[in-house]
Amino acid sequence: MSLSDHARHNREAWTGWAPEYAEWAPGAWTREFSWGVWRVPESELHALPDVAGKDVIELGCGTAYISAGLARLGARPVGVDITPAQLETARAMQEQFGLEFPLLEASAEDVPLPDASFDVAVSEYGASIWCDPYRWILEAARLLRPGGELVFLVNGTIFMLCAQEEEVPPGRELLRDYFGMHRFEWPDSDGIEFHLPYGEMIRLLRASGFEVENLIEIQAPEDAEPHGYAALPTPEWGRRWPAEEIWRARKTG
């Protein structure tokens, strides 16, 4: 397996962040299935198809709390992540909570699993932002069976335009161009992130064999609590503009 430069880079960054995420993992593993920093429950957003009895792959699972939630909804999840330290936490959580499912160390841009082995592919702040969409979305298409569903959460497009270089929340100013947005590097962070314009994401999904089903732009709930991520929008910002968005697409055929 040959890793892309950004994959190597992000594995190193995530190895550094892993201890902090290990501390949060028990809480994330035990709460109701919810999405993103506002923790909007799936029971309100309905972003997922029915996953009961389905083969589900989580691309960039980290500590695998999303896979754990999927397993509790009756799915057969497989968690894929590139960072061994994150998968160690995921295994410790599996043991602690008695919930076992396969975990695989791999880049979501190059997954060593056969074509058409899953009904659903999910990513929440995983491959969806840390992998190159021109690679991982094609991989998701390959891994899904015909009619399979792809659901992934990314940062809000408008947030990406307003995101500050420093580790502080966005303001209202548009700080960078929309046209050509793709790869993001930040002076205060080791990670390399990706984000595409709306129209380009639709084009890429179609070109990868998906029908676009939905784009859920998540509004911070009225009682949203501060989330502890210094560079992400405040609840007040997130009430007015989308901090996060969830794409849902169906593989044709």
Partner: protein, 244 residues
């Protein structure tokens, strides 16, 4: 039947039609079909495809600049507009195909009448998309295309009333974007990107493309928009959706 918004916009366009056509005649009246604020050629954007022999409905045709050019390419066009005064301009321009007066909220055509329904800053700006999209889905044939341009959602929320233009900063909310009463007397509509997708899907339409055209460095307009802004952020959206 037409809503109070449709009546309000009819009055607006009846009153505005002549000065609008005079102001923009040269800009939007070129010899080949062009899109929107910067008049980007259809030959480059390739939105509509081959129209020869197709039944085509233009929703909010104004003086029918588009339909006249598509009819010359062999399309069987119908120009539809909410303003009788705009249709007068279409007649004066030599439109020799049916021109129908009405609101796009309720289309006076049978189910499955058209291969292509389109507009360029037309009915999808001045009528409620939640009413228009199901109507378009109804009058399209299976396999038919619905394509339209509108001002982009980001441009809407970056609109600054004081300077009467787009600025490089968020001015109003994205959530809840839908209906706007303009100070000029018109009512205009825009939706968040995700709500457009859901609106199409609810009517059984498949999302084929969202073009966010970037105007070239030497683009010009008579609509008063800031080219520097439009070179960095999407001032316009062109949706292409299809009835399966």
């Amino acid at each position: 039947m037409s809503s109070s918004d449709a009546e309000r916009n009819r009055a607006f366009w009846d009153q505005r039609a002549s000065s609008y056509q005079e102001t923009h005649r040269e800009h939007i009246g070129g010899p080949e079909p062009c899109w929107g604020i910067w008049q980007l050629p259809e030959s480059e954007l390739q939105v509509l495809g081959d129209v020869a022999g197709k039944d085509v409905l233009e929703l909010g045709c104004g003086a029918a600049q588009w339909s006249i050019l598509l009819a010359a390419q062999g399309a069987r066009c119908i120009g539809f507009d909410n303003s009788e005064r705009q249709l007068d301009h279409a007649r004066a321009a030599g439109a020799d195909f049916p021109l129908v007066h009405g609101s796009a909220e309720s289309l006076p055509f049978p189910d499955g009448s058209f291969d292509l329904v389109f507009c360029d800053h037309g009915a999808l700006t001045f009528a409620d998309p939640h009413l228009v999209v199901p109507e378009v889905a109804r009058v399209l044939r299976g396999g038919g295309l619905f394509a339209f341009s509108i001002t982009g959602s980001l441009a809407w929320i970056c609109w600054d009333d004081e300077s009467d233009g787009v600025v490089p900063a968020l001015q109003s909310d994205y959530f809840g974007l839908r209906r706007h009463e303009d100070s000029d007397g018109s009512v205009t509509f825009q939706l968040p990107v995700g709500e457009w997708i859901r609106t199409f899907r609810r009517s059984g339409l498949e999302v084929e493309a969202l073009l966010e055209p970037r105007p070239p460095e030497d683009a010009t307009t008579t609509y008063g928009y800031d080219l520097a802004w439009a070179r960095r952020w999407p001032l316009e959206q062109i949706w292409k959706v299809r009835k399966p």
